[in-house]
């Protein structure tokens, strides 16, 4: 399985929704504490377990997250630690990039999500407690959602309802929003500790998974949000990111500060169905390909990006 070495510590990895073999990686120098950042666009070579870098973009501050546009195959957006969002177009010559710098957040932008149904807008989650809605054609945000009492770490569009999204925050709540409403429509006090990530089930739009510092992942049904549908324990430390599979209804993947990437089936009693401990530092980014069933990627502070097929060992060569 191929490995890609980044010069900086990895923070996020995302498959392209247009090209099966393409990924974007967000990295930050010095573990994201202080320093530059870099966005890598990498391609998987079909013949062998090799990853080639297509292009890389340097940034003044660390990059915490990256998201591909759903409308333009060559465009991606990057969340920068100085509070700005940079838009890159890989089809343009490198000296024309970045195409945009959207600076509105007062603090680090930690999460991005592009709308998969409407394909024209994206959300940014920031440590300034707010979430902002943007489109590529406007230099200013369309909406600001400010209700959380602490950093918003992650934001996720509902895969079915184009106007609904969820935000996960350090104030230990997950909020469900509707862009047509002025405020949040639901508050789920999911955990006793900070919630670092949330994601919707792609096949049941009422199910949402939350990953928290309390090492657990909880699956909630928004119709009955007082009690979780399922609690997934197994990680040894805080769970940094959770993602539902685009291909299988019950499968989700998570990565944690215990340096492992775990696969779960939340409908069965013994939910942990896979575990990979290939990283030697915090595993902070994981993604499942929308185009290829079973293809997954992860990155961590050990400056490595692994891409492998589900069921295989990422370190196999």
């Amino acid at each position: 399985m191929p490995v890609f070495k980044t010069p900086f510590n990895g923070y996020s990895v995302r498959f392209s929704p247009f090209y099966e073999s393409r990924l974007a990686v967000a990295t930050a120098q010095n573990f994201g504490i202080l320093g530059n950042g870099r966005v890598h666009v990498i391609d998987l070579a079909p013949t062998g377990p090799v990853i080639n870098e297509l292009i890389a973009f340097d940034t003044a501050d660390g990059v915490y997250d990256v998201a591909w546009s759903e409308s333009h195959d060559s465009v991606l957006v990057a969340a920068i630690a100085d509070g700005s969002i940079k838009v890159y177009d890989t089809a343009l010559p490198p000296q024309s990039n970045p195409v945009r710098s959207l600076k509105e957040h007062a603090r680090e932008v930690h999460g991005l999500d592009y709308n998969p149904t409407r394909r024209d807008s994206f959300l940014s989650a920031s440590w300034d407690d707010s979430v902002k809605l943007w489109t590529l054609d406007r230099p200013v945000s369309l909406r600001t959602f400010r209700e959380h009492a602490y950093c918003v770490y992650s934001v996720a569009w509902n895969p079915k309802h184009a106007d609904v999204f969820a935000s996960a925050s350090g104030d230990c709540t997950v909020r469900i929003w509707d862009v047509r409403e002025p405020g949040s429509t639901m508050v789920i006090p999911g955990h006793e500790h900070e919630i670092l990530s949330c994601d919707w089930n792609k096949y049941d739009e009422c199910l949402i998974a939350t990953a928290s510092v309390d090492k657990s992942i909880k699956i909630w049904d928004v119709r009955n949000y007082r009690v979780p549908v399922s609690v997934l324990n197994g990680h040894g430390y805080a769970v940094k990111k959770v993602k539902f599979s685009p291909h299988r209804r019950n499968l989700l993947v998570s990565c944690s500060y215990d340096m492992t990437v775990c696969l779960w089936d939340f409908m069965v009693e013994d939910a942990l169905v896979g575990r990979h401990d290939h990283h030697t530092e915090f595993a902070v980014g994981v993604d499942l390909s929308v185009l290829v069933d079973g293809l997954m990627a992860s990155t961590g502070w050990d400056e490595l990006v692994y891409v492998w097929q589900q069921g295989m060992d990422p370190r196999a060569s």
Partner: protein, 535 residues
Amino acid sequence: MATTQSPSPPNSNDDKPQADSEVVHEANQVQQDVGAEAAKHSVPASVFVNSEPMREDQVSNAVKFLSHPKVRGSPVIYRRSFLERKGLTKEEIDEAFRRVPDPTPSSQPASLNQDGQEKSSSNVQTQAPIQTPQPVAVAPAGIASSVTVARRQFHWNHAVSAVGLLAASGCGTALLIKKVIIPKLKLWVRKVVLEEENDYAKKIDAKPSLVEEAAAAAKAAAAAASDVAKASQEMLNSKNEERRRFEEFMNLMDVQMQEMKSMSNSIRKLEGQANSSGRAFSDHDDHRVSSSSTKQSYANGKVDVNVQPGRSSTPPASAEPPHPKSYMEIMEMIQRGEKPSNIREVNDMPPNPNQQLSNPRIAPRTKPWEAQNGSRHQVLQSQTSAEGLNQNGRDNGLNYLLDDESSTPWWQRKNVRITEIENEDEVKATGPFGVRTNEQPPPLVQRTWVPPQPPPVAMLEAGEAIWRPKSAPKETATQEQSADDQSAAHPSEVTDELQRITKMSESAGAVEMNGGFSTGSSAVKQEQENSYGEN
């Protein structure tokens, strides 16, 4: 998108609280008005809204919490956040805020404080013959007012001034008592002595009576002295009591302060990165920096992560995950004020902020879940120019695929299912990538960029049978949701061939479909009819 599971129609989420709550404030709340309007405008069957009635016990608990003096001093956002974490809904929180009597915290304590100060100052300064009970009465009044001042608003200023008032009034009363009682005593003693002398002069022989009188006088003096002593003792006691009460109160406040601190600390416990308040050397919000006081709370013997002006990305919960050694080194460097040496000056501003994005070369692809559910947001929707539909860009990875038609790319080879993790070793043995033949075709994965052909009619009919029952309510829901949006036009105007063929092949189905669609915008129906016309 059925909401059959919700106990009551979500539209009533505004009605029920009104019915349940004893206090009928509803119309005044702006938020509720907006919520009501929004509820009317939005889909009546939205599952993403709270539909629970308000719980009175939760609301009363919240009212108690909000009435607490310590809580009064905290910012509103933290009070809301606390209540949210306890599981209260927005409506319950709003109701609790409404119920709590909320004197404006800034103005009243100031005025009360002034009154108290005036009283005590007049208390001290008055030199007119004041009887003993009066300063005693005024002092407790002054103390009481200072105490109420302290209750209203919790500032150390007030606490200190209250203590000062107490001391001042105590001294004042002591002084006055001395001033008053000592002259009285003296007078009285003189009187007694004079009487004694007179009596002595008169009744020289009446010694026993003199002696008796002297004894009586002494007794009286003793009694008076003891009375005075008692009075002063009582004064002291009352003062001490006041002081004690005050101290107890202060302790209570301290305890509650600690509790609030610990609450706020547990909020931001070890996520660290927010504690650190942004860039290395800039100033920060107070509420972020305050959490740096949780220095000692980590069992791990490593350097404290929390105390950093820089950014920490590690959120340990109960136990801290072991950080990389170089991470610690960098944190230490930053704490010392040094900047790591590997940072470069990078200009990442866009050279041309008005740069046009390049035209997309590929149409957006269907999501696997959309294909299964038969959603209308399907493929062939090219919102921008479709010129590059099949044109392969120079720089994409597709060149590989076109050149290498014979072998599938390694990443497409699926070998095992989720449940067969144990066979990993066998799989590895079979080849460099551990490839086995693919058992199931990946859904809708294509290797070339030909738009998917509409499936044959037979498959369509089967698909319809499965698709339609689900899709009718779903589609009405999605229809209504997007009714207000401009983008509602998009999926309908680019109604894909699939649906067109569907309608053509099943006239009965077409009626139903139209019926389903007509609940949405009429524009859609017209466009579909137009498309019929085209066909």
